[in-house]
């Protein structure tokens, strides 16, 4: 195990102060399920580790009518999965959470950590992307709000600066007659990464689809929206032909790699199949 100095700040301001002071030589730990493996393998060798688990209020999951949902930086994936309000208002988020690793990992891992780690195959980003989520980054100069769609810049890379703490995730309130779905394609039900992850959301008004969002995981350098595919359906009736065309465009527009989990061609085909299924499930939830 790599050796480091440990700090446990008791406020967000204190945490940001430490991050400002130590910069690139510090890593933040919330659940630690990713970082501990990296420290054991010495993939990461920070001189300082800043534990934010004891900061009061940072684990809150709050919903306010007309405002939406806020998920604090240390709220665990399991807390989101089992939250009554998340299940009622954002079932897709609770479901996506339930697909991640095991209960033992979900009781430690945080949604914010799953985002900041910026793994292309992470389970929470596709669902959060189709819900139009944003993240709050707090730094020495104050806070900025970044749409999640603009947060990821590459595998393991984001727009977050070393002196910025992701303090909360914001999800707008669900629209009337809207629905969303996440489909994780992986050989095993537990303890496995997505070969392909597809999330879809849409709202129905007078029989036409609007606010269509499709997000893909594990088929590009970052989790990303499939805007070309969304445009196929936006403002149109959800006919079988339209859904099939949106799915085809999603498969064409993504840029998967071939690796041990699947070939690029296989991933593309699974994007097509699962985009069609996710859109269908979202439609059923919206109706």
């Amino acid at each position: 195990m790599h050796r480091f100095e440990y700090h446990a700040p008791t406020s967000t301001a204190e945490a940001i102060g430490l991050m400002e002071r130590y910069g690139d030589s510090a890593r933040v730990i919330a659940g630690g399920t990713d970082l501990l493996t990296a420290l054991k393998e010495r993939w990461e060798r920070p001189a300082f580790v800043i534990g934010i688990g004891a900061i009061p209020g940072l684990a809150d999951i709050l919903y306010e009518e007309g405002v939406g949902l806020t998920i604090g930086a240390t709220a665990t994936v399991r807390a989101v999965e089992t939250s009554a309000v998340v299940r009622a208002k954002y079932p897709v988020l609770a479901y996506a959470a339930s697909t991640l690793a095991s209960i033992q990992i979900r009781n430690l891992a945080t949604v914010a950590g799953n985002i900041c780690r910026a793994s292309p195959s992470a389970d929470m980003p596709p669902a959060l992307l189709v819900l139009n989520a944003a993240v709050v980054l707090a730094g020495p100069a104050g806070e900025r709000v970044v749409p999640l769609a603009e947060f990821f810049t590459g595998p393991g890379r984001t727009v977050r600066q070393p002196n910025e703490l992701l303090t909360e995730i914001r999800v707008p309130p669900p629209q009337p007659h809207s629905g969303a779905a996440y489909i994780k394609h992986s050989p095993r039900r537990a303890m496995d990464l997505a070969v392909v992850g597809v999330a879809a959301a849409l709202a129905l008004e007078n029989g036409l689809c609007h606010d269509v969002r499709i997000a893909l995981g594990a088929v590009a350098a970052t989790p990303r929206r499939a805007r070309e595919a969304e445009a196929v359906l936006e403002g149109h009736e959800p006919t079988a032909a339209r859904l099939a065309e949106a799915a085809r465009v999603a498969a064409t527009a993504c840029t998967p790699i071939s690796d041990v989990r699947g070939s690029a061609d296989y991933r593309r085909e699974m994007v097509r199949v699962n985009t069609a299924r996710a859109l269908q499930q979202a439609l059923e939830a919206a109706a």
Partner: protein, 153 residues
């Protein structure tokens, strides 16, 4: 430099100086001599190191000891009450849900956390609850049977 870790272990207050890079599992096993939690994969994949943190199952090999500061840890040793095994432990014995035994403490604790939340789980619920616990003897059927026998009791 060692730091003071104050937490509750099996209902007893505990104070111990730990290095920041020590895992909770290593502190339990090597410092507190609670060797019920096992080191299997040492990276959160196998569940043999499962303990309860504030009543919820976690992988203690992938948790810094200092993350448990101020919190409540329950290990398999804490399930025995005045020399009497917990009903789940007795059920594992009665049903024969133990082969080599290495995964058993984690299985029992994962099952206890399930039953504490949901006293009447379905078989699917039980299988989901232990999805993070690998048994390489592959004796899952008896384990599920043991958990359900307590649930239905």
């Amino acid at each position: 430099m060692k730091q003071l870790l104050r937490f509750t272990v099996n209902e007893e207050p505990c104070e111990i100086a730990v290095e920041p890079w020590w895992t909770l599992l290593d502190v339990l096993r090597d410092q507190l001599e609670l060797t019920g939690a096992k080191k299997g994969c040492d990276r959160g994949d196998c569940g043999a190191c499962t303990v309860l943190l504030d009543g919820k199952p976690i992988v203690s090999c992938t948790t810094l000891a200092l993350q448990a500061h101020g919190r409540r840890v329950t290990t398999i040793e804490g399930l025995v009450h005045e020399g009497t095994p917990h009903p789940l432990q007795q059920a594992f014995v009665d049903v024969g849900a133990v082969q080599c035994g290495f995964c058993t403490p984690g299985m029992v604790l994962a099952a206890k956390a399930l039953l504490d939340e949901n006293p009447s789980p379905t078989e699917d619920d039980v299988r989901e609850a232990i999805a993070g616990n690998l048994c390489r003897c592959t004796g899952y059927a008896k384990i599920v049977e043991a958990v359900l026998s307590v649930a239905h009791a």
